[in-house]
Amino acid sequence: MSTKEQREHIELLQGTLDLLILRTLLLGPAHGHAIAKAIEFKSEEVLQIEQGSLYPALHRLIKRAWILVEEGTSENNRRAKFYRLTPKGRKQLAIETSKWDKLAGAIARILRPVEREGE
């Protein structure tokens, strides 16, 4: 029973991470380290993810066929794995983004009811 709870707990966090990965890959294929860097950089270092947690998330996205892996060479001519967004992933990103917007909006309205009245 305990493992189940844990998994649900993690899933919540991962859901967000998934969204971030998909968003990052929208700009073009990237390898694992680059994705981690990009997320850190874009969020202005606010989101300090544990870089390792990227990998289960990547695999989950591969399994769902939202992204795919391809072999390639990185900028400094090293062999590397590139992750690329699939059309299905692109669609999912749109869905997730709008969901997130709604959620964020709803939470914002609850947290700042005054501002809403002032509109």
């Binding site: 998994r7 993690i10 390898h31 694992g32 380290h33 981690a36 860097k37 544990e50 870089q51 390792g52 947690s53 990998y55 289960p56 695999h59 989950r60 591969i62 399994k63 090293r78 590397a80 794995k81």
Partner: protein, 863 residues
């Protein structure tokens, strides 16, 4: 999926290492010392082991874990409802068990590959003389040689012919089943000796050294399987045969009773044109790899066309050896297989019904689970898992039942069913049972599960535990299921009814002689001695004299064959001074050589003229002056429909014999087939002894054999039987099919009745409040009773009507198995329909009575 998972996980280590290196590099560029940079990178990455574990979890097979959980839950549910589970498992075990048993018979008899290489290429060639009513005969030596020359069709050919030889030179002469075979036979079959060598074409020369091949069984019996037997000799009919080899066991599957093989040597005479139609050899051929069966058949049709002008129709059939082995067993086995399949369908319908009823009871549980967020697909899977569990357990018990069924089945199976000893619960059968169990689970599980999962949540939860939410659709479905059960049961019952009626009709057939108190045995005479024309009559007369003197013997007679024991001979003949009709086939008839007291022995009635006297008997010169014949009624009716055949002459090639008597017709092979007519020839030609006894014939068997041996030590006796048993054995296949189909039909019938009972009982329970209300409002109890009865009757009537229609579709299948009744026999159709309706009323009666006794107060209080 599994491969992809493996690859992804394998590369994970590299990916992680790569990642950390890149991070280290970044850190160095940021000005850290290499050591520091690496440490920071690892820290930032986090727990590598955990990352790996979590990644692996992503790929773990969720459905499998769910299945396990469903199974655990299923087992718990089934144990909780142990009564329900027991009923379902028992019903299923019956259905699956019956199917498994029949399949193992079908598998062994029809699908069992013959133990020879590429058996589909081995064929048997038959002559066909449709106009003589001989659809399939053997071929003559001349034809064998001619056909064998067709190397464009056949890779190799072989011929064989049974020979009776006595194993002599030991304490007591023993008759051996010997087969004459050409050297090519073993090549054709692809059989190698386990010891020594096969025949060579050298062995086929007439007058050469006698050689013999032994079956493994004989080798063990005579020589205890000692290799030194090779090169030794055994005496057959007093002549020495050198043992050149021992045959492997697989030839015994094809020729189970043959103990020894000797080379076939065709006499120059048998290869002349006059002997073209002396068809006494079975011809086997192995088709060339590039020749298909239809091609070979087409080529042989062309060969047969050469004889179109001969005044009779002629064909050559190329028949796969498997068909040859299985014969007409195929039709009845397929019918039984189909029937037992229908039984399984009825079983499934019945269980679906039970599940529907139970799932209605569980609708609240299901609604709660749905409300808590279970997806419909998950609910269906979970209910299906329960069905699967049920059917697997049922299948397991079914296997046990099948084991018991098989024991009984092989006991009543006709002895001439090939590969009977190969019937067992082997891996094929286990696999079949598994598949059938799975299919059954889908059949009876899918619809109820889907229906339950569609439960209207709000309504079910609001209505509390009674959960009648899905009842309307459920009730309709249950009626449909029961109706189809009745349809299938009716089809089976009609089929069984027709077979039973046929069987009764066959039993009513008078064989034309009295098979009771009649003993038959075959005598095997050493041909070396009794080939001499003088010896056989002397031996026969001595024998008949001695046997007639035995107390308890009423009559004794010797013939070439007796009814139900031998294939008999066939001949063509001419009728003197008779103008043949245009296009009329050459007259033909069975021929039996008999001694004078034959008709008295068999109690075959004399219709006209006289019986044979001992003065009529001869050996050889069958058509010399003074020869007489007796014909049977069938032949008399055919050729002398209005006249008297007595005094007419029949014969061949301008030689004639006079007809002196007409006797009653006799069924000679099968009670269900009419004999085409028989000519009886008075003479010493036969080796079958028939003895009419005053009491139980088998009591005299020993004494009679002793008398035989007293005359000649080298005479062997075999096939000692009461003729009554021979007649009974001829019915074995019919009895087998009839018994089984009747059992299956009864099983289906019973299941359908319980199904009907269940539906009506359920309706009564469900409508109890309504019935209570009606009663409270003044409805008569008899009205309620009638209402419920009508419901049951309506289902039954619809089932019967649809069943009769369905039967009309499968009717042609069973038509070939019937005798004396048409496949639309009104009596059977009406009787079965009435039986079903009557029993349906009885099944409805109990719940209907309960409906009548509903207490309005109690019923309404629950509302």
């Amino acid at each position: 999926m599994m491969r992809r998972r493996k690859r992804m996980l394998e590369e994970l280590d590299d990916d992680i290492r790569d990642h950390i290196e890149r991070e280290t590099q970044d850190n160095i560029e940021r000005g850290m010392s290499p050591e520091e940079a690496r440490y920071a990178a690892i820290r930032k990455f986090g727990n590598v082991t955990r990352v790996k574990e979590e990644t692996r979890e992503v790929w773990s097979v969720v459905w499998f874990e769910q299945l396990l959980a469903d199974m655990r839950f299923g087992v718990r549910m089934l144990r909780k409802n142990s009564g329900f589970t027991a009923i379902v498992v028992l019903t299923l075990a019956l259905g699956i068990g019956a199917n498994t048993a029949i399949f193992s018979v079908v598998n062994a008899v029809l699908f069992h590959p013959l133990p020879i290489p590429e058996p589909h290429r081995v064929v048997v060639l038959h002559d066909q003389f449709p106009s003589w009513n001989m659809p399939r005969t053997k071929v003559s030596p001349l034809q064998f040689l001619e056909f064998s020359r067709r190397t464009d069709l056949f890779e190799s050919t072989g011929a064989l012919k049974p020979a009776n030889l006595n194993l002599t030179g030991r304490d007591q002469a023993v008759r051996l089943q010997v087969m004459e075979a050409t050297a090519g036979l073993f090549t054709t079959l692809g059989i190698e000796p386990i010891l020594g060598r096969m025949f060579t074409t050298n062995d086929e020369t007439r007058g050469g050294a006698h050689v013999v091949l032994m079956s493994q069984r004989l080798w063990r019996r005579l020589f205890s399987g000692n290799r030194s037997a090779l090169g030794g000799t055994i005496k057959l009919d007093g002549q020495s045969y050198q043992i050149v080899g021992v045959l492997p066991e697989n030839i015994e599957t094809l020729y189970p009773h043959v103990e020894a093989w000797i080379p076939a040597a065709f006499s120059p005479e048998s290869l002349t044109e006059e002997h073209r139609w002396y068809v006494d050899y079975t011809m086997l051929a192995r088709l060339r790899k590039d020749v298909s069966l239809p091609q070979a058949q087409a080529a042989m049709n062309t060969v047969a066309d050469r004889f179109k002008a001969e005044g009779f129709t002629f064909g050559v059939e190329v028949r796969p050896i498997l068909d040859e082995q299985v014969g007409d067993a195929r039709g009845s086995l397929y019918i039984l297989w189909g029937a037992v399949g229908l039984v399984l369908l009825v079983t499934c319908a019945n269980i679906a019904n039970l599940l529907l009823a139970r799932n209605v009871g569980r609708s609240r549980e299901i609604a709660v689970r749905a409300a808590l967020g279970a997806v419909r697909a998950r609910l269906v899977t979970q209910l299906l898992t329960e069905s699967l569990l049920l059917s697997l357990v049922g299948g397991g018990f079914g296997l046990l039942l099948a084991y018991a069924f098989l024991a009984g089945l092989t006991r009543i199976a006709p002895a001439d069913l090939p590969h009977l000893d190969a019937i067992r619960l082997d891996s094929d059968v286990l696999f079949f049972t598994l598949v059938v169990s799975f299919i059954a689970a889908m059949l009876f599980g899918l619809v109820p599960s889907a229906l339950s999962a569609r439960t209207d949540l709000a309504k079910t939860l609001k209505e509390g535990g009674r959960g009648t939410g899905s009842s309307r659709g459920g009730r309709k479905l249950r009626s449909i299921l029961v109706t189809s059960e009745i349809v299938l049961a009716l089809v089976l019952l009609v089929g069984a009814g027709l077979l039973l009626r046929s069987f009764a009709k066959v039993l009513d057939v008078q064989p034309g002689f009295d098979p009771n108190n009649l003993l038959a045995m075959r005598v095997s005479l050493p041909t070396a001695i009794y080939g001499n024309p003088k010896q056989l009559p002397v031996f026969s007369n001595t024998l008949l004299g001695r046997i007639s003197a035995v107390p308890g013997v009423v009559h004794a007679s010797i013939a070439t064959g007796i009814p139900f024991a031998s294939d008999g001979y066939n001949t063509t003949f001419e009728i003197r001074n008779r103008q043949a009709q245009p296009n009329e086939p050459v007259p033909h008839a069975s021929v039996t050589y008999v001694t004078s007291s034959y008709f008295e022995t068999f109690k075959i009635p004399l219709l006209r003229g006289r019986f044979f006297s001992s003065a009529d008997l001869r050996y050889g010169n069958w058509l010399a002056t003074g020869a007489v014949r007796i014909i049977d009624e069938a032949l008399a009716k055919r050729f002398w429909p209005n006249g008297d055949p007595i005094g007419t002459e029949i014969g061949n090639d301008g030689q004639w014999a006079t007809i002196v008597g007409v006797v009653g017709r006799v069924h000679d092979r099968d009670l269900a087939t009419e004999s085409e007519g028989t000519i009886y020839i008075p003479g010493y030609g036969g080796t079958t002894l028939a003895v009419r006894t005053a009491s139980d014939p088998m009591l005299l068997a020993g004494v009679v054999s002793e008398q035989l041996r007293a005359i000649d030590e080298d005479v062997a006796v075999y096939d000692v039987e009461a003729v009554k048993d021979l007649v009974s054995a001829s019915l074995a296949r019919r009895r087998f099919a009839t018994t089984l189909l009747t059992l299956f039909a009864l099983l289906a019938f019973l299941l359908a009745l319980t199904g009907l009972y269940g539906v009506i009982a359920y309706v009564v329970t469900e409508r109890a409040p309504e019935i209570g209300l009606r009663l409270a409002l003044g409805a008569q109890r008899t009205d309620i009773f009638r209402l419920m009865l009508t419901q049951g009757l309506r289902i039954a009537l619809l089932g019967v009507v649809l069943g009769l229609f369905t039967f009309s579709l499968v009717r042609p299948l069973i038509a070939s198995q019937l005798y004396g009744v048409g496949s639309t026999d009104l009596f059977t159709l009406i009787a079965v329909s009435l039986l079903l309706l009557g029993m349906a009323i009885a099944a409805t009666f109990i719940p209907a009575r309960r409906a009548m006794r509903v207490d309005p107060m109690v019923a309404l209080r629950y509302e």
